[in-house]
Structures are given as C-alpha cells and as structure tokens.
Amino acid sequence: MHDHQPIARLAPAPPCGMVTLKGDPGRAGLRRAVKAAVGLSLPGRRAMLREGERVVAWMAPDEVMLFMPRGDVAAALAAARKAFGKGSGLVADVSDARVLFTVAGPHAREVLARLSPADMGALGPGEMRRTRLAQIPAGIWHWGEGAFTVMVFRSVAEHARALLENAAAGPEAGFFAPGT
C-alpha cells in the first residue's frame, strides 16, 4: 500500500516496574515517599527526573509515577508506605496497567504530531506531555537522546501500535528539523 520506508522506527520497550504515589502536595509525605522509593526528589510541574534506571514523573498536582526495574518494585512499595507512615497517601503497583513504546529516528516527532493535538514542537527533554494519540490517552516524553517514549494503557496497546505504525508510514512532511 505504501511506497515509502517508514519515517520512524517503532519498538515495544522492555517491561519495567511502575508505581503510582498519590498524596497531598502541600505535606511532606509525598516528597518523603518518592525519596524513600527511588532516591529522587519531587519533580516540578510536568517534569521527570532520572537516576540510572529509576525515574520519577509528575502526573498531576497530587500524583507521581515511579519507573524502576521490575525486581525493585516490592522494596519500593514497602519504602513508600513506610515513608507515608500514618499520614494519608496512596501507594499502588501499576506495573501491568501500562506499556511503553519507543519511537526513534529523525522524524519521530512528526509521527507523534500526526496523532496528537499537542504542540509537539514545544516538548523539551525530561517533560511528560499527557495528551491523546487519536482517541486514546497517552504520555509522551524524550530525554534529548533521539528516541521518544510513548506510554499507553495495556488494554489499548495493540491499537496504539497500529496507530503509530500507520503514522510512521511515509512520506515525511518535514515540519520539524530532522533529528530534533
């Protein structure tokens, strides 16, 4: 059907552990729980912080998501619960709720822009843009190293893969400078 090579490479990312923390952002509990679970500080609005394989992402004013190797999840859950102590806070293992894809190549940004109303040109490194890809919710970020990561619910993973594959079927419009 398409005469062109795909303009971006699409790959499922290996499974990783994901933990949701919710708590009052005006109290110390949430910050302490993040520190205890992954050793990182509380990120600012829409920001992500990374230390090796451990990542913390701002999801909402009272919610963060932690990423880590699957084997570290049990210890992180226990540490976060202990840090919240008697204060109110939610700690949940959501490792199976979502899947990650990587979209790489010089025109990766254009592939995502085709599917989302978000201003993809404004998405800087270490910022998570929660938006939609066609009709499904998604989180998108990159670390300034070429590849974008896309996070979607597992129940729509196959649909997301098909969407991204279709959007990557060329040719490129060249709206964004290649490789940016």
Binding site: R45, R46, M59, A60, P61, E63, P117, A118, D119, R129, R130, T131, R132, P137
Partner: protein, 107 residues
Amino acid sequence: MLILTCPHCGIAADETELAPGGEAHLKRAGPEASDVEFEAYMFARRNPLGVHFERWRHAMGCGKWFIAARATDTLEVFGTYPARTEAPPADLVRRIRRKRPEWEGLP
C-alpha cells in the same frame, strides 16, 4: 476550536483533550427547597450570549477539574482556575468587567 489552559498542569489543552462538565457555580437546592426549586437546580441552565462559566476536566491529561470563564459569542477565554472554589477569583472578575461592562455578573 477552543484551547483552554489547565490551571493544574499549565498545558494549553485542545478542546478534544478535555471533557465538558456543564455550567459552573451551581448551588444545590437545600433540603427545605420546594419541588420547583429543586427542578430548577437539576435542569434549568443559563445559556447566555456572552460571559459564561463552565466546568471542564482535563481528561486526557492530569485528570483534574477546572473552571473556564469565556465568552460564548466571540469564544474569547477570560481565564481558568481550579474547580475547588465557590466563586471565581476577584482579579478574574475585575478583568471580565473591564472587557465586558455590560456583564450582569453571576447570579
């Protein structure tokens, strides 16, 4: 197309990233209210040509509710603010009054 800035996460979100929640600042009819008053609370909605306050949820984003003040005739957006409040912020009301001196204010 309507673009509203979510006051919680700061994203200028497209209308299609949001879920509409209808008229804002409704006051529930109290326990001693008559059937007519309760029916009005349940079903009667203002539909002004001009300044209007609406609830929106950033559904394809941070998931939080906020309120947008906008003009239904020009689609101008005056401002947005978190939904955890009973009245619009005073500076926003002042800004709307400057632009729309004919606005009669919220009931």
